[in-house]
Point group: C2
Chain length 353, copies 2
């Protein structure tokens, strides 16, 4: 059966899974990636190891990229963005703007895999002093250090003796307008705590949290192990201020389990920054006129029974474009979106869509 | 291309999604359900309304069942179980035992959608007195009452004035051997709290919890609303004992946020029971020799990057057969499994699997 190719926007985990899956099924796709490399956030932001199995992100994403590359029916376009769209599925005309200029192609369906953006903790929350104190970093900054196998205080290049994570920075916070839970930061903080204890066995690690939202492998492989094998201290509490005390940082807040104020000196503070809708999500939403939900992620129509079908016929979404998602969510939803997009063009070709 | 049919075991949300999706894609499937009705746990256990949109479960599952029923390429077998299997994919011989006796068929791939079992709170945790106190019920018992639109104390048929939920019953509990988080009970308790406040506006509702694990729509639509619009009291704490005091129940425990013991009289206690591997999961694991993970759910091979491929080639799993899952997880993983199963039989038919 002759069907139009399916356009996949974004070459991260979701886009890679969707394109390879479609090729396996015998469907042509065009995979558009705005950067010069596939692999999405794990590659672009230099993630070290993936949860829960601690495989190097470069290896895991490299394998997914190679599989998409080797797939017969995937047409990969790097350094390319979608700059215009018109018509309706299964005949959508899109303009792809890449290194060789603009090209107009017709596609049968679209899968938006535009991922997320890390919350910028300097912009809206002043109390953590991310821009003021060199030793206040984010999960993303820490990943880069773990990748280099070298966790040191940016201020003096020395290994820290005491480090804490502050959870829900840019998440579950109505003051800054980000009410949503970013879902993965609890598990990532557990993972990084273990990595710190591996690299620096004498370093004490604390995690200040509201609720520890870790289930499945996040709990089995990371949360329990961080607590029990690696002696990381989890403190249910709220951090209200970080100030300088001599060469160290003073973290002030409340231990809500013990019901008392805490003031702990730290050498480094790692802010567990959450996920926000990406610029790509906003741009593709505008271009294809895809409705967004209240937080700015792509709205899907089917409640709990369909998390990939958007408000525009023939346009599907996967991964963190629809809300905070871990790798498992991204790859699984990409499979579901690929199936629905393939079914959409198949039914259209049969004349029943 | 001629491919063998795909066997889908279990007619709940995951099995229904997989079978309809495969039919849309042009692949034949046989959907085997041991009961006399499709719809899985939501139908079998008389769930009232689904999260987060509060649609009646019967309506939502009815629509999914009707879609599978109407799908051209789905062969539905009710009252049927898989009783023997031999050979390897893409040529697995299975025996289907149903109302008309045994039938041997050859299938190209298998998707196990055998769901979960609710934890039985009477069997292993004596402290809550589920078998002793009529007014101690479970989330499942409560669903049946909500479906009837009539929440009353079983002991005297009167509407309760004070109700509490106890979270993590049969979850996160090493003493009874269930270490895992069941992922959905936080959200379901929030949903049921709202339902209680709708039915009985004068009834006070409390939720005793360890961590409130609610993200995505669970948080937006249920947790926040239960707290803010419906004035449900969430108490971070541990309940250690339930005893009778006159006609009421006395709930004793510790409020860990306030750091003090609590003793609260309740008219009803609802135990938020977790998910365990189903008998069907165990049986199919034995029959197809599918390795299980440490908690007894089906083990999947790809870490975070593939949650549907099992240790047996051509055998995939979806929904709660691989671990606690909500409807969103079940339907999404079913789409992913359907895609991979279809790709498996396609590649096999092309001679490249």
């Amino acid at each position: 059966m002759n069907t139009q190719p399916i356009l996949i926007i974004g070459g991260g985990p979701a886009g890679l899974e969707a394109s390879r899956g479609l090729s396996d099924l015998g469907f042509q796709s065009i995979l558009v990636e705005q950067r010069d490399v596939l692999g999405g956030a794990p590659i672009h932001h230099n993630y070290a190891a993936l949860t829960p199995d601690m495989r190097p992100a470069a290896t895991a994403m490299g394998e997914m990229s190679a599989a998409a590359d080797a797939a017969e029916l995937v047409d990969i376009r790097l350094n390319t963005t979608v700059t215009a769209a018109s018509g309706t599925a299964p005949n959508i005309s899109v303009t792809l703007s890449g290194p060789d200029g603009d090209q107009d192609v017709s596609v049968g369906a679209v899968i938006v895999c535009t991922g997320f953006t890390h919350f910028d903790p300097g912009q809206e929350t002043q109390m953590y002093g991310y821009y003021e104190n060199e030793d206040v970093i984010t999960l993303v900054d820490a990943e880069r250090m773990f990748k280099e196998g070298n966790l040191v205080r940016p201020s003096n290049g020395e290994p820290p003796k005491q480090v804490c994570f502050i959870q829900c920075v840019g998440s579950r916070d109505r003051q800054i307008g980000n009410q949503w839970c970013s879902k993965v930061c609890c598990g990532i903080a557990c993972k990084q705590s273990i990595e710190i204890r591996h690299l620096l066995p004498d370093c004490r690690v604390f995690v200040f949290y509201i609720d520890m939202r870790a289930y499945g492998f996040w709990e089995d492989e990371l949360y329990w192990k961080a607590q029990e094998e690696h002696k990381v201290s989890f403190i249910r509490g709220v951090v209200t201020e970080i100030t300088k005390r001599g060469e160290r940082l003073l973290v002030k807040g409340e231990d809500t389990t013990m019901g008392r104020p805490v003031e702990v000196p730290m050498d480094m503070v790692i802010l567990s920054v959450g996920m926000e809708p990406s610029a790509g999500t906003r741009a593709m939403s505008a271009l294809f006129e895809i409705p967004l939900e209240s937080h700015g992620f792509i709205h899907t129509l089917g409640g709990p029974l369909d998390r990939v079908t958007t408000g525009v016929p023939g346009v599907f979404a996967a991964g963190a474009s629809t809300g905070p998602a871990d790798l498992e969510d991204s790859v699984t939803s990409a499979g579901s979106a690929a199936m629905k997009a393939a079914a959409f063009v198949t039914l259209a070709a049969r004349g029943t869509a």
